[in-house]
């Protein structure tokens, strides 16, 4: 297979970026998109050209490191897929493929396809945890958790923190990211006690970090590689309302 690539290249955060055109050949359908870039990079290095800088680590869709906009979609056009999971057989032979970094004011480009995502850590620091210390705790079975609640929590906890929701959101909002954490912890008895303060502090931190607000476009849900649903955002809104009323009272 052969492809025509348009790849965003940018030397540094302040440097202007633009698309560069590359032709790649001898691509086998089993290759992943990132392996195709690896191959292209090998060729570039041999020519003495700086290779395309991009991030990835586990390459099996769980660490959340990789993240690019492929043909206009965060993590590519396939649903429930991370960038590293994209296989070349999903493209037409000879197709032009556009690759650019995640775009958001809170995700400044560091180099080529790498963006800075520290904002997501800051949002978790604002309360995305239970305040359980390391030490002796009640037996894990002492507090029963209804299976449905556990499954629901697990659905939300599957978030890999890749930031695709932010990249896809026309407002660069991190609502799905926040909502997933609120839903994960708030559904479990261990996380419930802090739910109100968590909902307030995490959404405030989200705004402080420069993420936008939610306009219910639901683009986040469409690109989420782990299939996290916008219904968790409604849940977050309820938690916020409850917390605000409680604060008022």
């Amino acid at each position: 297979m052969r492809f025509h690539l348009k790849v965003w290249r940018q030397e540094g955060p302040e440097a202007p970026g633009r698309f560069f055109d590359y032709d790649v050949d001898d691509i086998i359908p089993e290759m992943s998109l990132l392996e195709m870039l690896d191959k292209l990079n090998e060729e570039l290095i041999k020519k003495g050209t700086p290779p395309i800088t991009f991030e990835s680590d586990c390459r099996e869709g769980i660490c959340g490191t990789c993240g690019m906009v492929v043909n206009g979609s965060a993590h590519g056009p396939q649903p429930k897929t991370t960038t590293c999971e994209i296989r070349m057989r999903h493209f037409q032979d000879g197709e032009a493929i556009t690759i650019e970094p995640f775009r958001a004011a809170v995700f400044p480009v560091q180099k080529d396809l790498i963006v800075e995502r520290a904002g997501l850590d800051k949002v978790i620091q604002a309360g995305g945890y239970t305040s359980a210390y390391t030490g002796t705790h009640a037996d894990a079975n002492a507090i029963l958790v209804p299976k449905d609640d556990q499954e629901y929590a697990m659905d939300a906890a599957a978030c890999i923190g890749c930031g695709a929701c932010v990249a896809a959101c026309p407002n660069s909002s991190a609502m799905l990211f926040v909502a997933a954490k609120i839903a994960h912890l708030g559904t479990l008895p261990q996380g419930k006690p802090e739910e109100a303060s968590r909902a307030l502090s995490m959404t405030e931190a989200m705004q402080e970090e420069g993420f936008g607000a939610c306009s219910n476009h639901f683009e986040c849900q469409a690109v989420c590689p782990k299939g996290i649903r916008v219904e968790t955002i409604a849940r977050l809104n309820r938690a916020f309302l409850k917390a605000s009323l409680k604060r008022l009272a």
């Binding site: 775009r103 476009h217 683009e219 409604a234 309820r238």
Partner: protein
């Protein structure tokens, strides 16, 4: 204040004021339907709601409505500016999957509606635009009531006025197509199963509302309603 400085808080107030405005539109539409009863009905309705008996509550409603409108516009603008700042660009080439034209143009359709609202009020309420066909230009009807029916019929017989009205209703439809459900989502109403149902219901409601409004000029233009 903490509520308002929170991104969800702002959105909730947007949603609440939006719902109030939408409910007003629903009430307005119900009032409009009297036009299909003929001259007697709508003129009676118009006089009725202007009667002294209803004056204080009506004024209260107007104040609330105006406050909601003001808040809706102010917060909408603020959120628009904040969101634009958070997302200066979404790349050169973006394909949308779930976000439709409606959700992506809320701010602009809102502005258009505001512009139309001003024109609409100048026409039918303040009679300063199209003064020759406004209610004050006509003698009272047989019962001595202001002849709103005649004003409506003559106005919509003009294709430009009817056309503008229809376009405005299309914009209202576009705005509420996303707005109705979005408000419910922001207020935290949907659950796992009800979310798609509510979304569809919101879209249907928005379409029905706009279609209801559009029926009047269409009826005039087709001659169903005439003098």
């Amino acid at each position: 204040m903490a509520f308002l400085s929170n991104p969800i808080g702002k959105k909730m107030l947007m949603a609440l004021t939006g719902i109030v405005l939408f409910l007003f539109l629903v009430a307005h539409l119900l009032g409009n339907t009297t036009v299909f009863g003929g001259q007697g009905w709508i003129n009676a309705y118009a006089e009725h709601i202007h009667s002294a008996m209803f004056a204080p509550p009506l004024w209260a409603a107007r104040v609330v409505l105006l406050a909601c409108l003001g808040l809706h516009i102010a917060l909408g603008t603020l959120l628009f500016l904040e969101n634009t700042k958070a997302a200066p660009t979404k790349g050169t080439f973006v394909t949308y999957k779930e976000a439709g034209l409606s959700s992506r143009t809320m701010f602009y359709t809102g502005l258009l509606i505001l512009a139309y609202l001003i024109y609409h009020l100048l026409h039918f309420t303040f009679h300063s635009v199209h003064a020759s066909i406004s209610v004050s230009a006509f003698p009272p009807d047989a019962q001595g009531r202001p002849d709103l029916f005649r004003s409506i019929a003559l106005s919509f017989q003009r294709p430009v006025i009817a056309g503008t009205y229809l376009l405005a209703m299309a914009v209202v439809c576009l705005h509420t197509f996303h707005g109705v459900f979005s408000s419910l989502q922001t207020l935290g109403l949907p659950g796992k199963a009800s979310l798609p149902v509510l979304k569809r219901a919101g879209q249907v409601l928005a379409t029905l509302l706009a279609a209801g409004f559009a029926l009047v000029p269409v009826a005039v233009l087709t001659g169903w309603i005439n003098l």
